[in-house]
Symmetry: D2
Subunit: 345 residues, 4 copies
Amino acid sequence: MGELLGVAVLGAGHMGADHIRRLDRVVNGARVVAVADPDRDRAEEAVGGIEGVRVHDDPLAALDAPGVRAVLIASPGPAHEEALLAAFGRGLPVLCEKPMAPESDGALRVVEAEARLGRRLAQIGFMRRYDSGYLELKSLLDGGRLGRPLMLHCTHRNVSSPPGFTSAMLINSSVSHEIDAARWLLGQELTAVTVLRPASSSGAPEGLVDPQFVLFETERGALVDVEVFVNCGFGYQVRCEAVGEAGSARIGEEHGTVVTAGGAASAPVPQDYLVRFAAAYDREVQSWVDATRRGRVTGPSAWDGYASSVAAEAGVRSLENGGRVGITLAERPPLYAEDGGDGAR
Amino acid sequence: MGELLGVAVLGAGHMGADHIRRLDRVVNGARVVAVADPDRDRAEEAVGGIEGVRVHDDPLAALDAPGVRAVLIASPGPAHEEALLAAFGRGLPVLCEKPMAPESDGALRVVEAEARLGRRLAQIGFMRRYDSGYLELKSLLDGGRLGRPLMLHCTHRNVSSPPGFTSAMLINSSVSHEIDAARWLLGQELTAVTVLRPASSSGAPEGLVDPQFVLFETERGALVDVEVFVNCGFGYQVRCEAVGEAGSARIGEEHGTVVTAGGAASAPVPQDYLVRFAAAYDREVQSWVDATRRGRVTGPSAWDGYASSVAAEAGVRSLENGGRVGITLAERPPLYAEDGGDGAR
Amino acid sequence: MGELLGVAVLGAGHMGADHIRRLDRVVNGARVVAVADPDRDRAEEAVGGIEGVRVHDDPLAALDAPGVRAVLIASPGPAHEEALLAAFGRGLPVLCEKPMAPESDGALRVVEAEARLGRRLAQIGFMRRYDSGYLELKSLLDGGRLGRPLMLHCTHRNVSSPPGFTSAMLINSSVSHEIDAARWLLGQELTAVTVLRPASSSGAPEGLVDPQFVLFETERGALVDVEVFVNCGFGYQVRCEAVGEAGSARIGEEHGTVVTAGGAASAPVPQDYLVRFAAAYDREVQSWVDATRRGRVTGPSAWDGYASSVAAEAGVRSLENGGRVGITLAERPPLYAEDGGDGAR
Amino acid sequence: MGELLGVAVLGAGHMGADHIRRLDRVVNGARVVAVADPDRDRAEEAVGGIEGVRVHDDPLAALDAPGVRAVLIASPGPAHEEALLAAFGRGLPVLCEKPMAPESDGALRVVEAEARLGRRLAQIGFMRRYDSGYLELKSLLDGGRLGRPLMLHCTHRNVSSPPGFTSAMLINSSVSHEIDAARWLLGQELTAVTVLRPASSSGAPEGLVDPQFVLFETERGALVDVEVFVNCGFGYQVRCEAVGEAGSARIGEEHGTVVTAGGAASAPVPQDYLVRFAAAYDREVQSWVDATRRGRVTGPSAWDGYASSVAAEAGVRSLENGGRVGITLAERPPLYAEDGGDGAR
């Protein structure tokens, strides 16, 4: 398929290093040509001797390195806006990890900049759209087999939360995945959110509101409920049941090998999202590389990044204030009219 | 185990006829000695030639018939209060179908009458407490294996609603089962309820708010959510997942025979609660007969009937008004102190 | 349904005591009136104060006790033939635990005696025909949904074998259930058997050939394979998959409550056949009581007991000699023509 | 990871074309540089405009094309031996589709040639070793969690067989996968085989013996049974249950999305091995490319190809003659001592 796509990776932390490995050793058709991280040693370690990669501490220098034809942004959220605008300025296609921006204001500026450009360059890293289960559910919903969708019941559980995780991050870091998935699966914008607080688990750090139970309403009356529980202790579980007028479908109950021993039949529960969604990450980056080499931009758009950001902010307000909070979006630029949160296939 | 327990059955409709059959042909240790129904022909048909049964049109006459040592009330809800009080007046143990009374005022009068009597005579027909799945879940929760309970996720789906079913009946006829089950499983009273209205299914009769999504809060901070959907079209499904600090457990996913044919592996979904809960009804009545013959009263109490009735009324107000409605109970008489909604084993 | 059926129970060991309890406290329409056991103390203990029961040490005396209208034989196998013939001589309906007779010679004498009598009196205790899973499988096969049956794959596992269990008993005590189930499900006689010996488990007692893998051929070419493993250590598992020209169906994978904790999703495996088949035993005895009170004899016949005995004997020969052994039955008396191994409902 | 691995693909039929696509668009680190097929048009079509690929009708010319550093053999079985020997002569690493050779004589010549060479160059295409389910089962068995393995129960079902499929091909084309999987999972050679013939399905072509039931014995006494049914009509199912002294484990029951509609809960069954094992094929070729670029040879060896071929031939003799047939291998060259059928990770 011709020349390999030269990619600059911004950020060499946990996620960035994983993407460098993926581009170098898993994905077909791309090669890493530049890596930028303020911590140069970390960047060198992530590169690990891959031939022909230049390491930078300035992201803009990486964008301008020879051979760069696309950008993967895996730096911390506050750095995303500047990097996205710089890529837009150079006409470079971008895959930007979520969140697109830490606040909706910044997200809206990205949307407006791309709209001014008049063509899409950014794909946002909502990788659930590339998970085989979610793809099947999307296909069932779009194919009409379940009838008009009325409810989504979602579960999002982690073994434990990392140090520094706040009550607001259950919404804007964890539930943000369900926000995008719900918008995409239903093809509808969210219109309101209510966050409920069951008793917090004694397994959660002091002061963390965990679990939370989050309710979203959509523009055509569907109801989305999400149990988010980031210190559940037993595993990483992501489940979704869509209930329609004609039937329901569930994903995320997959159990592979069943072992019967010691009086019980049991199946392991994955402990980590990189295990549970490994194939989705691979498929996401492969799709981005394939599309980019063909000169196309598909997948979740900057608008999706913005809409998710607004919904998460409303959720955090509801968590703080206890009531129902409306979700209001800016006017949707025509650039995003066709591809409304879709295009993952 | 000595003489058979002579039972008077009040009401010979769908449920009453089923109980007459059960007492005559399934349950051990009892016999039907009197049946009362205003429609004498219906009563004769339900009796169907069982020897030694007297048919009455007056329920009080049935209570006074020779050989009556216990009463099973399966008449319409509005007739329950009078029948219960009459049974109390005669010192007869009673199994009373739910609802104990159509409104909480009447339910409270029953509670007060039994409290004045100073001993329990009434068991209320919340038969889920006798379902093997619910019993396992109760045992897991009480045994501490799941840790302190934080949430219950419940699903209650029927193929279609009978004629005349109203939006309020989704709460006070259907969800009333979850109300009792939640109080019993958690060993906590409910303190507030909020009813949400997703878009109604086009498969539901015009004007019926179906599905509904009902949220209960409990005195120690657990959250109970219930999807109730009585025109789901595909089957009768009752599921419950308890989420605790140390683990979760689900019931109601049982699938027996798995048939693989025509490109799919499938298991039948029951179409009817009498199929799904057949064994629970048998176990409920058998337990009542066994306890009664030993001079004991166990199972859900009049207090459970009353508390369920108050919660359902609050739910209906929330359905009508749209907001969160508090649930406030009268003071609990000492008679019900020990047996707090338990005793099913 | 009229007067209770008076039953004489022969044998008050583990199984007999359980049947006495079942007739007294579970089953509708019967009462125990006489119990016989050479160990009078054991019989008294099993009766446990049930009113109106006479205890005997001579089984014939129990058959002649006042009020006896039917017999349940739960004495050791070697005593069955005499007890059955005595019941036949008195015209008493019998439910006889398996095996009907320890050897096929004795089983054939029972068949011939009943054939001379010209009417069925005996039902043999193959209780799997009353298990809800097997009943569904039978219904699927008879209804044609799976097409013509080609294979049955069976698993029969016990946690551990009782003291004194021999290699032959894996066939004639354990696999005898699969022998009857296969004949009943397929509606075909077995024509040959081959027993294979995988490496024996170090968890089995020294010298016991365990597991074994048993292959049966049937008169219309179906193949039945059975893994029997009586010291598997982890649970009591009975599974059966029927493979037909149009589909397959499996039973015995039932899992009720699924608990997710400690990194795994698990469901308990029953440890004991009295747990796994509790409802089947209840249904078996209830069906027998109901039919007997109506003057009918249904369920597995003496012919089924005989055919099972011949197949098991052939299996033991194959276990000893290593090769394929043919199964040849005596001519089938016309008495058994219609009801060929069926009639469980 | 340096320069891309230049691969010559021999054979541009169904499988070859799929591998060309995989090397070009899925796998990381390789590129197709030469393709050979006697049908030049077919080869051109399979290449489909990939830049820099030369098309040949002579496989030896393809091996000698510039840039070729490894060979993937996907030509028909009878061409494999010559191609393997030619690759050995040129010192080229090879991935050879199964069967390694149509008959065990040819397979042995390949083994001997590689042994003379003194180093491994060939990996044989037993792709089940790269399926995540089989890998988990292997890991459970090697880790000792199931104890010493006693039995493997296998199922191998296809919707329908292609034209020209013979009764022998159920063994040497279909069961050959289970032969390799059993040897690999157990780490034992097979010592005997018996093929049983249940009644053939009327859904199978006239004269085809389908299904078959195949029994293998191993050197340490494990028993392996395989139901192979290539016209089952309903789907492609590959299942395996390992039974050990301490527990059992099953794979191949995976069900993803569960749809509840129309009175049943159902999950789709894949219709095709390219769907069921798509990820395994990708992983197989990626592993081969990765190892080859590091100068290593892993995965199933020529000895595995030979041993599988001998076992399949014995199976075909048992199918024809009806009895048990011993499996005797040539002496194992020291070259294959260490890596005995393993190395898939």
